[in-house]
Amino acid sequence: MSGRRRRAGEGPGASLGEALPLERKLELYYWMRLTRTLEERLVALYRQTKVVGGLFRSLGQEADAVGSCYALESRDVMSPLIRNIGAMLVKGATPVEILKQYMAKGDSPTRGRELNIHFGDIGEAGRTRGFLGQISPLGDMVPVMAGVTLSFRMRGEDRVGLVYVGDGATSTGAFHEGINFAAVQKLPLVVIIENNGYAYSTPTHKQTAAKQFVDKAIGYGVYGEQVDGNDVLAVYDCTRRAVDRARAGEGVSLLEFMTFRRKGHAEHDNQSYVQPGEVEAWAADNDPVDRYVRVLLDREKVPQAALDEIDARIHREVDAATDVAEASPLPEPLDALVGVYADPPTERPLWYRDGADVSSLGRERAEGWGTWDAAKGGPR
């Protein structure tokens, strides 16, 4: 089974995605549309300079984030990348949390310490939502998630881990060491490579000489599948199979999702390195939301009004979240010193930030200058 490549729908039996009941298929639509609407709101806030740092879009990748994370149980743990805002939402992160993060608010999930969707909530099953925020050095979350899933095995917990990497992160040492370690230990971990064509401005062919990333599964001795990342039901199907394998003790899977990043690395990036017409072609022919709308309307016979109702509900939710986030307080500066360590719980401000009486500083000299005594003509 190692390293096999399979297209969704080619497997034995019906697709697990196709087999989902309609109400769950509509949930998938809700999460994808929420992702897009929330990001559009973030763009508006960015242009109003209310977003403090950069803004990272997942336009065109909503199906891969939503469909894959939807294959997890609530007790499972997922570690997202910058473009997995949809996976974060599915796992329970809220629009208001994300908005507050981007606006660096004092009551944001990281209290203004970290950027964008770099936040998490992991721990005991049932008491935490099960997402672990990434850090910026890419590939690092693979070993960390190997450790999270190692803890599941050591404690005999029926939980699975899922970690996303981009095409670029596969070039890092952390990716290699992490997936190899997890494979050797046969940990319940699903590794998803989102191949969206570019790592910042670097195209895939400058990232690897491999024909496709899923081929790496053979080298690691793990199960591999490649799937159309813009087909949300196929993504769910493929991921669900890997999650089931992990839960059954069959170890690591490496999945490659074929998709395309339709915006720059971040909003400042004008994508000058992309071939003319490439973005437009993907937008016209292969938009994951448009494609799924056609599935729902044409095949599932969902009335347009039902989708419109979901869209309207999402707009109301995002409006309400925006109001809350905008009204939220900025951090108190002294909070910067809290919580580097468990013990001590806070650092002390440096003296020039501590209200020091500057005029007194020169008078700290002891009565004698050390033990030097000039009268004796030398050191004591």
Binding site: R113, G123, P143, V144, M145, G147, V148, E177, N180, A342
Partner: protein
């Protein structure tokens, strides 16, 4: 109770903590079936099984990263760097991921990264390093470096129980040369507290790890041959530094020599010197002096290694200059 070596004291701490807390486990290269390159973990796999003493691939990033992930979930991993030199391979994971986890994400990383460190053993450039300074520069990490068998055990137990990541430097020159009698019961030495290894009044030597023993030898000779009463402070913990102990000895003797085996530029001695200068300037009779390694990758040949690393005679020379200032 019988004397045991510094190395055995560490093993005793690991064993006791594994017995005490099911969440404690070990991860590292060749630590299980083989018992580790220096045999620090010898016998632990036989006692606690492959699930709790895990032989890993040669993957320092994965070892440290997996420890962090398990630690987030409430485990207490103790990972071995086969030689502490290889901790550089996990530098990103330690400094970018582990050190920041509590602050940026409210995630605890209760884990210990331990390994054989230091020179005087003819180990050459990659089996002799003292990379502690690079990590005390990173907020979020704790760094300990014991010089006695008693401290090695007590600090290891504290490190395992600490709710943050502790880098535990073990001096390989001391592994089998230094012995001690372990205090009875649950012997725990607090992190962040220095120790007065020798009382004195004329000048202070602030040091840690193997150079504690060199400083004590120098102090004996300075007393016997030059009539100088030398105080020796063993820092034990490098992050957080015990400012109180550093300032107390500076104010007491008014002359301070900082000694370490690490290289000079950017070494911890510079930081200690700056803190004393900022806080105890009026108490000083002389500038703070340093005895350190030369700024040289550590060479293999005995004549070269001995020249590069601080020796007892260097400490005596520096102490005499300090006393004569």
């Amino acid at each position: 109770m019988a004397e045991i070596t510094y190395l055995e004291a560490i093993r005793e701490a690991l064993d006791e903590e594994m017995a005490r807390d099911q969440n404690v486990f070990m991860l590292g290269e060749d630590i299980g079936a083989f018992g580790g390159a220096f045999k620090v973990t010898d016998g632990l796999m036989a006692k606690y099984g492959e699930q709790r003493v895990i032989d890993s691939p040669i993957s320092e990033i994965a070892i440290v990263g997996a420890a962090a992930g398990a630690a987030h979930m409430g485990m207490r991993p103790v990972v071995e760097m086969q030689f502490i030199d290889f901790m550089a391979n996990a530098y990103d994971m330690l400094t970018n991921y582990v050190a920041t986890a509590r602050y940026r994400a409210f995630l605890g990383c209760p884990m210990v990264v331990r390994g054989p460190s230091g020179g005087y053993v003819r180990g050459g450039p990659f089996h002799s390093q003292n990379p502690e300074a690079g990590f005390i520069h990173t907020p979020g990490l704790k760094v300990v470096y014991p010089s006695t068998a008693e401290d090695a055990k007590g600090l290891m137990k504290s490190a395992i129980r600490d709710d943050d990541c502790v880098l535990f430097f073990e001096h390989k020159y001391l592994y089998r040369r230094i012995k001690g009698v372990m205090p009875a019961g649950d012997h725990v030495v607090p992190i962040g507290k220095a120790r007065t290894a020798r009382e004195g009044t004329d000048l202070s030597i602030i040091t840690y790890a193997a150079t504690v023993h060199k400083s004590l030898e120098a102090a004996e000779r300075l007393q016997a041959e030059h009539g100088l009463s030398v105080e020796v402070i063993d820092l034990r913990t490098l992050a957080p530094l015990d400012d109180e102990a550093i300032f107390a000895t500076a104010r007491k003797t008014n002359r301070v020599l900082v000694v370490h085996e690490d290289t000079r530029t950017g070494g911890i001695a510079g930081e200690i010197t700056a803190r004393i200068s900022e806080t105890c300037f009026a108490h000083l009779d002389a500038p703070v002096l340093r005895v350190t390694a030369h700024d040289i990758p550590l060479p293999y040949a005995p004549a070269l290694e001995d020249f590069v690393l601080p020796q007892v005679q260097d400490i005596i020379t520096a102490a005499r200059r300090l006393a004569a200032w």
